[in-house]
Symmetry: C2
């Protein structure tokens, strides 16, 4: 299918990197937290192969931050997540499910602790700022909550460490996974984390001050020319291969963290102040859950809405939420929500794609 165009407005914000992204030849976007998020540069397959072999710079400014600061900051964040964050270190990043009073997932951000009274919630695509403000206003908490002028730029790929080392030094490269440290950009200290939405390794630089965006971009490209550094973007194929979930695709407000396979981030014994705690205690044994699944046959088309999954006799048992053809694994890699009676690895099911009925095999693990 010919893709539709995306029209311009300032409601769908440009990022501090958009001018460079467009000079690099971006062909397509999606939107994310009311901001442009690049999705194709050369082609999906070429971008994929390059991500796995070299190093890419990703404009992920759409991962907007909610800054929460003040004496009640920890209390407020803990009310929104079943993961116990009480012992986070000041340089830690925690992947946290955000849940509502029913235990339904509202977002799955990375929480950065900056100090005891200051956090950044690095968002997936929903306005968690509004939930935090509502809770804080309702409870009269002593916090400030706002979206700071902070825009993540990811450096991902097997040569990411080499590039980061050249620009920021080997001490930064030695940062542990899901920890953050500081670098100096345009004379200002800024946060850099060992993190990113790929399995290829890398870093996320939290640019503070939109006016420095092109300077940061140029620093990376000037230092990485011989590494074949390119503009890239989150890669649907690669993130499915690695089992990285996408909020709004693989899980929504209709699903609990247990259904999303995120039970290991639910500390129900200690995170009792989470407002979804009672609901999650009730729902800790899910009747459906996310599974890696393989779809046989031809390369699947782009997924625009969940695809119904059924047994060979036609009984509905779930849906596929993400799918793509993987050149490296020579099959369609996919993520599905599958009912308990059918979620055992090895179960053969079928899926209704826009191209017709295709076979579906439940797997025991992701591909990488």
């Amino acid at each position: 299918m010919q893709l539709p165009y995306l029209t311009a407005s300032s409601r769908v914000r440009m990022s501090p990197f958009t001018a460079r992204v467009e000079a690099a030849g971006v062909q397509a976007y999606t939107t994310y937290n009311h901001m442009l998020l690049p999705t194709i540069f050369r082609s999906p397959l070429e971008d994929y192969a390059h991500l796995k072999s070299a190093v890419q710079v990703w404009d992920v400014a759409g991962e907007r931050q909610v800054e929460i600061r003040g004496p009640d900051a920890l209390k407020l964040v803990q009310m929104t997540t079943p993961r116990d964050i009480s012992r986070m270190k000041d340089d830690q990043c925690f992947y946290i499910p955000n849940v509502d009073e029913n235990g339904g997932m509202m977002n799955d951000p990375v929480l950065l602790k900056l100090d005891a009274e200051r956090y950044w919630v690095s968002l997936a695509d929903s306005d968690m700022l509004y939930y935090y403000k509502g809770l804080a206003n309702g409870l009269g908490l002593n916090v400030e909550i706002f979206e700071p002028d902070v825009s993540p730029l990811a450096v991902q790929g097997p040569k990411a460490g080499t590039l980061i080392g050249r620009v920021f030094g080997e001490d930064v490269v030695a940062t542990r996974f899901f920890r953050h440290t500081q670098v100096e950009i345009a004379g200002k200290p800024m946060v850099i984390a060992r993190s990113g939405w790929s399995l290829q390794g890398g870093f996320e630089i939290y640019l503070e001050g939109s006016e420095h965006g092109e300077h940061l971009w140029d620093l990376l490209f000037d230092a990485g020319a011989d590494l074949d550094v390119r503009a890239g973007c989150p890669c649907t194929i690669e993130r499915i291969e690695g089992g990285l979930l996408s909020y709004g695709n693989d899980m929504t407000l209709e699903h609990t963290p247990f259904e999303a396979g995120l039970g290991k981030y639910c500390n129900l014994d200690t995170a009792t102040s989470c407002l979804g705690h009672a609901a999650l205690v009730q729902k800790r044994e899910p009747t459906r859950q996310i599974r890696p699944v393989e779809i046989s046959g031809d390369a699947v088309p782009a997924l625009r809405a969940p695809w119904p999954v059924s047994t060979p006799s036609g009984e509905p048992v779930g849906f596929v939420s993400s799918a793509a053809w993987s050149p490296d694994f020579n099959t369609n890699v996919a993520i599905a929500m599958v009912d308990r009676a059918h979620w055992t690895a090895g179960t053969e099911l079928q899926v209704q794609t826009p191209a017709g009925l295709q076979g579906l095999l439940v797997r025991d693990r992701y591909w990488v």
Copy 2:
């Protein structure tokens, strides 16, 4: 500029009308509340001329509803708006600024009262569901809050009444402006309002039950063939001519309703339970405010970010938030936020567009 493409994912949801919209030849979309919103069918100018002369059917399902029901529903909604909603009739629609504790605008929805304990908040583009849930959870209010399966379909244009009369009867056509009544679709009673985001007159049908979307679409097109009914969409040119604001473009969380020129919807004497009340009392005399402005010279390019407005000597005094070439008025129609010292009608300023410096004239009123 060649427009970029928009890639598919189920995170950016299709609507109950998307299949018909695509069969009708949609060329471009934007996204709105995590859903596809059509923006171009034949061309912006052809769509504009047709809207003003015939009748169009608009997929505005992206105007998602927040349903709030229960004994505390009125109390909760009133906490989020400075407009006094205490005397709303059960068939009324109110345009309400939604504000935070600072009086900053969070959304500008249309509120539909369904009964004393049941409201729909028909949203502009931000997740107000999350703010309502946060407040209700923080305060322990007795309400249910959820996104119902309701998708507005607008019928707009000078022949909208004729088409609605044929399909639903003359009693429906007689509905007063910003009132709602009921129609039967697929055997089910559904809400229809005399409203819509154009100055051409029309109705918004609140489809309940996604499975009936194509049936409703077909009813309208079958009845309107001789009226030249076409698929259309909100028209930037027409809505600027008429002074209809766009949340996220013309005002954001950074602006009060007074700055947005919405002071008439602020009942500060009676809506004292609005959480932004104290802030708005302080800010009732704004130092900047939205103005209709005319931009001289060639047709302006698409606006992707606010354009800086300055005095002839270069002093910054505001920004243009929406702009388009108007064939009917043979000029560039625009909306700008202008500082008090320069907002008097007749003031000559200048604006930095991507095409260069162009003259800007502050007007006393919109074009229609």
